[in-house]
Symmetry: C2
Subunit: 566 residues, 2 copies
């Protein structure tokens, strides 16, 4: 059998390793900057691909990512496998009861978000085909249909990832967007199958196309009813009679791959198969959290970054860049998709702010657009420069959706302890021996580090402490105050080996002191933080573990690992 040579294997692992490493580093960096991780992952591909590395060190780029031959196929295999597995996870996260509740709204969003861009796109492509980069000899109807479809499709994987990154995936809003995107994509791919059919004059078009439509509907419907029922009933058997959780894991993967093969075969994309398998598997209450976490972590941190980074490798964004075309495509795409999404959401009765968030979510394009564009390019419908413009439009709309949604929804992350901890507010060895002294020591150091007025704050903390001592037992004390003018909650941590009496109900001295300063106009955050600390330290031995940490890094690592999964 044909196989990879030793040289191919070297390149393969080198390129996979570099791709995964840089996608993850930039993904983490993006999250630090409060952007969705997917933005950093896409950027990693652009940097390593023809656009940047290919310009600066073309021989390195050609060495790592040869455009032809076994290594190109190996990379495409990994990317294709990754996107299919990512959609399995995205499907598993779908909560069918929410979809059912949001179904009416989702239908309206999908309809309006599809029809409006389609009509505008068709009209534009019909009127000014040359400006939009039609191949000279391409059929104008086919080109107009393609352009209209390209504007109408929402990128299910990108928007799923963005919603997950923003912690909105399982919310009502998230499920409206996902349901609408699924409907949208199914219709979009069906239209695309029609386009390909129109181009191929030899095939019995009408028959092929109607088969695709019928089989797609049968598959989706079958998976959500019979498939779901069978999976639900197979699950306890698998858990009882195979190794656990491995049995369920390989069952889900096998099904996902077979379904991917099926949907690709009937003429829509492989990702739909695994998505619907994910929905059916994830809906079973027999799927335990542990199995879900294994699949989710592995796919989110290995496969998804690899896929999103691989997109950037596909084109040179510099040489085929045509500013006017890019701006035109981007403008038309955003305006008509936003209009469609917002109108649909308002029609469905959503409040204005949510409707705009839905609009920007539906506006995200990505992988689908690029696959579509690639097929059109290969089929001779469009030119390179339109392909580049479509890819840039896809990436820009994808990168835009996260930040804009965050801005519109004024979405702040659930305030968790780990997000408020910083090394400059960490005092490993407190000198103080009494309650009064430790409050002075910690407020002064903290206020100096944060450039705050220490006197007023110290007085406020002590006043609160005198009303009722804040020792909560288990060696923990939580002196606190609300501070006028503070914008973000600030938690300082002090550790005292000897312990300080904070008049706790269990009589134990406090070894770990959290000084909690919160904005005056945000009363709930103080409660949230106090509750979280109490919950974490209910765990026996937590205080001892904190006493064993030697640095802020170790302390933070301990807090993150013993807490709720992030």
């Amino acid at each position: 059998m044909e196989s990879l040579s030793s040289h191919n294997i070297v390149i393969m692992f080198l390129s996979f390793g570099i791709l995964l490493g840089s996608a993850r580093i930039l993904g983490e960096a993006a999250q630090r900057l409060r952007q969705p991780a997917v933005a950093g992952e896409l950027l990693a591909g652009v940097l390593l691909g023809p656009t940047v590395l290919g310009m600066i060190l073309p021989e390195w780029n050609a060495y790592l990512f040869p455009p032809h031959g076994p290594n190109a196929i190996a990379l495409d295999t990994l990317a294709t496998l990754s996107i299919v597995l990512f959609l399995l996870v995205a499907g598993m996260e779908v909560d069918l009861s929410t979809v059912a509740r949001q179904g009416r709204v989702a239908l309206k969003v999908a309809f309006s978000g599809m029809v409006i861009p389609f009509i505008i796109g068709y009209a534009a492509a019909w009127m000014v085909p040359q400006i939009l980069g039609r191949q000279a000899d391409a059929d104008p109807i086919v080109f107009a249909l393609f352009f209209a479809t390209a504007l109408s499709i929402t990128a299910l994987p990108v928007i799923a990832k963005t919603l997950m990154d923003l912690d909105l995936y399982r919310s009502d809003l998230g499920m409206v967007v996902i349901s609408a995107a699924v409907l949208n994509d199914i219709v979009g791919w069906t239209i695309f199958a029609i386009i390909l059919g129109l181009m191929d004059a030899n095939s019995s078009n009408a028959w092929d196309i109607s088969m695709t439509v019928v089989l797609t509907l049968l598959f989706a419907g079958g998976m959500l009813t019979v498939g779901r029922y069978l999976i639900h009933h197979a699950m306890p058997f698998l858990q009882a009679y195979t190794r656990w959780p491995g049995g369920v894991l390989s069952f889900a993967f096998t099904l996902a791959m077979l379904a991917a093969a099926f949907t690709e075969w009937i003429g829509i994309h492989a990702i739909f198969g695994s998505f619907f398998v994910g929905v059916a598997v994830g809906d079973s209450p027999h799927l335990r959290e542990r199995t879900r976490v294994i699949i989710d972590q592995f796919v989110s941190f290995i496969f998804a970054p690899l896929f999103f980074a691989s997109i950037g490798l596909k084109v040179n964004f510099a040489t085929h860049f045509d500013f006017v075309l890019v701006a035109t495509v981007l403008l038309i795409a955003c305006v008509c998709k936003l209009a469609g999404g917002v109108i649909g959401a308002k029609w469905g009765g959503m409040p204005r702010r949510d409707a705009w968030a839905v609009g920007f979510a539906m506006n995200a394009r990505g992988a689908m657009e690029i696959v579509l564009g690639l097929l059109a390019l290969e089929a001779g419908i469009i030119r390179q420069r339109l392909f580049v413009a479509l890819v840039i439009m896809a990436i820009v709309t994808s990168m835009m959706s996260g930040p804009v949604m965050r801005f519109i929804l004024q979405h702040t992350k659930a305030r968790r302890l780990q997000d408020t901890l910083f090394s400059r507010y960490f005092y490993r060895r407190l000198a103080a021996a009494t309650r009064r002294e430790v409050i002075r020591e910690m407020t002064r150091a903290t206020c100096e580090a944060a450039s705050l007025d220490s006197e007023g704050i110290e007085a406020a903390v002590w006043a609160r402490e005198e009303v009722l001592a804040t020792g909560i037992g288990s060696g923990v004390a939580l002196p606190h105050a609300r501070v006028p003018g503070l914008r973000e909650p600030l938690v300082a941590v002090g550790i005292s080996e000897a312990g300080i009496d904070f008049d706790a109900p269990d009589g134990q001295p406090a070894n770990v002191i959290f000084l909690i300063l919160t904005p005056e106009d945000d009363p709930s955050v103080q409660l949230d933080l106090v509750a979280e600390i109490a919950r974490r330290f209910k765990n026996e031995g937590m205080t001892d573990q904190v006493l064993r940490t030697k640095s802020f890094t170790e302390f933070l690592a301990l807090i993150k690992q013993t807490g709720e999964p992030s």
Copy 2:
């Protein structure tokens, strides 16, 4: 960029899905028959490959697993990635302190297990090259060196999997075998690099070969010292400043891939790189159990089965089958490798029984043999029929090692509750209302199902019950007796909705009654089972969960999921 066509994608997912599904089904079946899972996984490939499917339905085989073109490359990509990731996990499981303790023995086993087969193999190949299938025009020295090396190499992945399947991997014996196999393989691949060097008259052989040897030693030594130190110190930072456990997960994978590229580049196989990364990462006490479990489960149940099944696809075991050659190769291989392993282990001071187990473990060949054989075939050193004989030898020795080791060590699985439960001893609705009645009801039904004499057993259980009531609280009772002549422990489970008074310390009636019958000559098993049940039901709400189960399958699923990981 060159990419997979839609047709390629259909075949790819179809073949991956079928391969994974059948490997896992036969793997589970092998375990039911008390064989290592890897035997079933290898068999899945033989059934789907040219040997069986290719004979019965050649067009199906050619459709699913085309020998050339993008799909062959895609399958090889997945198989190569899988084996590298599997070795990462195998490396993570290595316990360096055990290796250090067993180092002296391992060294002797590796030395003797290498030198003896090498000398015998070299002599045989030198004397009867035609019988052993040398290519007519191949250099006799090169052929003899190849044959000797092929006999000497131990299959690290296969033996690692077998030891894991037998629950022996982290034992002293397991670590002797793994350390010896690692040393063995490093030397083997170095010799093979020398062989390839000898064949290629144009290259500056001596220089290339000594570079490989030096770089291999530098890499292995560096990973185990500097690499281990750096990874150990990077871990808390990753856990504190990246998402957890995803940060550590992608760190380990990125390192593994880069190291795989490096070791493949220096002339030994990619799997060594990821193995040593695994050793270094797994050795850090900062690697949390949860991260380890995610990697382990995913790789063991997805990647490993795919790889082992893919081996069987590579050759037709029927057409190139030469019985005399196969028997000769198999005989020489087993005799000299067994002799080497056993002599080495006894020389290292191991007891006779363990020494034989080590011999059979070292005797397992597999992937490495096949890769080596494939390279030799492509380089024109050996003929097809020797290749087939080597592959069969590899598979037979691999399949032999598990059962023989189990037999030699009289290895019985840790007796766990879930292994003793069967639906025929499960009584969902007990009719009895008193202790006396329920013991009668359960012993009679159980003895009937198990064809035992019920009278004596009922008397024994009741006598024990009268001495001291067996209600342990939380709604559980554990009537029990030792039964002369019984060979396996037998646990019957009865559920009473109303509850039966078993005089428990907490005064609660018992809803779940375990009737435990154990062999008279095995006193410890009763204690083990009682302790396990008590531990499981300490968990609040466990009894309520049992009362909610509707069938034996649901009950068994509950027991497996709430227990220790399997």
